[in-house]
């Protein structure tokens, strides 16, 4: 067995194995630490900015002025996320989209694979949705019935295209032993390039200068129910929540889910127990890709109304969501809401306080960094007398794997 295989399997197995309480504590601690480090970043950036455009938040003799008050920034961020109907719609729009991409990453993680390619699956799924709806629209009646048919077609095609694109790295790993981390990253670039070229050369909206398809008909776009703000539909959010429940049930309550999880935690044992590991790899990556593709479909049908170049990095944010959620489909819901709120609030901190909205990007990276190092919190816990010194389960894998003895990585 090559080293890399066991590496990722081991890391993922560890992440999956850690007990639920421990996972939640680690996620909360990581979040807290990110907020603290983010506050320091805000303080320093306020110092770099000085002299301040308005009254400084604090002046320390010798050091100079600090323009931003981190507590105020966070407060405005939070208030901004839920403050007005419009902001709430932005928050929930992002939450909805992150539900799909977060679930996509979580499913692959559970199967022992790191799908960094959700972004590509989403981009191609979105293109599939946009084109299929445009093609089918002329043959169905306008209005509610036509809308329902078109949305169904769009979701199905989005899922199919995303699933196909996700199955490729799954098959490459299963049958050619190609590392899925590398292939999914590469296929992101390939997907974006293919979609861009297809649209710019073949399917471009003739009436537009930018690279985008024509708009799908109004009645094929998800209605702005409840909040009444274009770009967010409660239907999609409810669908996303239902999907989270469904994925949880599939993983927990079906034999496919059992096969998927055991191959993720203990591939050799799963194989020994009669699971076709290769087939499971392909099908779980296809499922993961399909979820990403549905995310793309919802982006087209709810947000953009068309495929356009420069689709936001929802797939990468899905990785953050899934990692923060401990790759638990139910945990994806609060994690998606959190990052949705950060998105909604980021626009407000830029508008009200002139703090660049990219701060949220920094927080996103910090969260991933801290969640990746549970050992740090465990050591800190032990030092301050809160934890016990049980062996590390989270990153170096508590469960020794068959064939792992010759890795030389673990000396005990």
């Amino acid at each position: 067995m090559s080293g890399d295989d066991s590496t990722i399997g081991r890391a993922l197995g560890g992440l999956v194995d850690a007990s639920a309480i421990e996972r939640i504590l680690i996620s909360l601690a990581a979040l807290g630490l990110s907020v603290v480090v983010g506050a320091v970043v805000v303080l320093i950036s306020g110092w770099v900015l000085s002299p301040c455009p308005s009254a400084p938040f604090a002046t320390l003799g010798g050091l100079g002025e600090f323009c931003y008050n981190p507590i105020e920034v966070y407060w405005v961020l939070l208030k901004g996320a839920f403050g007005s109907t419009f902001n709430l719609a932005t928050t929930l729009q992002e939450t909805t989209l992150l539900l799909f991409t977060g679930l996509s990453v979580a499913v692959a993680f559970r199967a022992g694979m790191f799908n960094i390619g959700t972004q590509g699956q989403l981009v191609l799924g979105a293109l599939g949705t946009g084109l299929s709806v445009l093609w089918v629209a002329p043959v169905v009646p306008a209005g509610l019935v036509g809308g329902v048919v078109l949305v169904a077609v769009g979701l199905l095609v989005g899922a199919a295209v995303g699933g196909f694109w996700g199955a490729i790295p799954g098959a490459l790993k299963a049958y050619a032993d190609a590392n899925e981390v590398i292939t999914t990253i590469m296929l992101n670039f390939v997907a974006t390039g293919i979609a861009f070229t297809l649209v710019s050369e073949v399917f471009k909206d003739p009436g537009s200068q930018t690279v985008q398809t024509r708009f799908v008909p109004e009645y094929a776009q998800l209605p702005a129910l409840v909040l009444g703000i274009d770009g967010f539909s409660m239907l999609a959010l409810v669908g996303g929540l239902a999907l989270a429940g469904l994925v949880y049930w599939v993983l927990r309550g079906t034999s496919f889910g059992y096969d998927l999880r055991t191959s993720g935690v203990q591939p050799d044992a799963a194989e020994y127990g009669g699971v076709d590991a290769k087939k499971t790899m392909v099908s779980s990556m296809a499922l993961s890709g399909a979820l990403g593709g549905v995310g793309g479909a919802v982006y087209v049908l709810m947000v953009a109304g068309q495929w356009q170049s420069g689709i936001p990095s929802l797939g990468f944010d899905g990785i953050t969501v899934s990692i923060l959620a401990g790759n638990n489909p139910i945990g994806v819901v609060p994690a998606a809401l959190l990052f949705g709120a950060l998105k909604g609030g980021s626009l407000v901190i830029e508008f009200d306080l002139a703090v660049p909205q990219q701060l949220v990007g920094v927080l996103r990276g910090l969260v991933i960094l801290f969640v990746a190092m549970p050992e740090f919190f465990r050591m800190a816990g032990i030092r301050y007398g809160y934890g016990d010194d049980e062996p590390a389960v989270a990153t170096d894998g508590g469960t020794p794997r068959e064939g792992g003895a010759d890795d030389g990585g673990d000396s005990e």
Partner: protein, 360 residues
Amino acid sequence: MSYADTSRKRRWLLGAVGLVVAALIAIEVLFPANPFTGLAVVLLTLVTDPNYVGSVLRLTVPIAFAALGGIFAEKSGVINIGLEGLLIISAFTSIAVAATLGGGTPSQFDLWVAFGVAVLASVLFALLFAVVCIEYKADQIIAGLAVWLIALGLAPFASKVIWGQVNSPPIATLNDWTVPVLSEIPFFGPVLFDANPTVYMLLVAVAASWYTLNRTAFGRWIEASGENPKALDTVGVDVRKVRYAGVLLSGLFSGIGGAGLALGRVGQFIGGGTTMINGRGWIGITAYLFGNYNPLGAFGASFLFASLDALQIRLQQLGYSIPSELIGIIPYVTVVVVLAFVGRTQIPDAAGEHYDSGED
């Protein structure tokens, strides 16, 4: 996977390449009016044009430096997929420092100071990554991803704080160095002896990396630290220190690559979307995988990928309307195809795993 299996896959790959060449020749014989011959002539004139080769070398700088860094980190047992982030950090730092030092019009000296600070920033970021991976046993893939995402957020954030927008104003770039006499040599003179200093640095770094990895004790430690850390530990070399060295070298090289792109070529920091680095760190990873962890091979692959970039610009100037995005995906497709055929047998055995000496 056995060695025989790999060599069989390599033969398949060679066979596939041969088939494509044969198909092209057949097309040429059967359909003399095809566009491929014209393209081949253009290609041939390009690769003999010193200006073109020179510009390709400048485009190679960030990719190849990232690749060299990735080789040292991964060979020592720490997979660093945060190279893209390190390039972003150093590109941003170099421009920010240069613009601050020179008040918008930095001198050559200011640019070199900025270059040094940028490399230092990248090394510090790599140190953070190393501590997280080695001391706190973080998952290397996730931590590497975090390095990239932090850089992707931090650089445009800081740009907005400093310049009020995600792009910096343009500044001067490093002057080319011309070696007297040698630069008069036909073709090789203008390419190799009348070039940007970052290009000289790259050529030296490639040779030095190859020598270090293949001919020195340190190179053997790096190799052992990734392949069989226990053996290295047994002979009394501290695996942790070797891995720190490997990761810090990846920070050093990526720092030179990022600052080399910003100060040697572009003269501006562009922070929108994927930033001015625009996937060059990822292409660097593909380059060293393609080059099979050999610095010379990685340099060759980086040169090849950079030439595609330059080629597409030239072809458009010559009136061939090939969609640039389509040419842009060639490196990525290449790597996927190569991985599909060769698998990943060459990855160091213990790469990605935490090593615990069991002493503390």
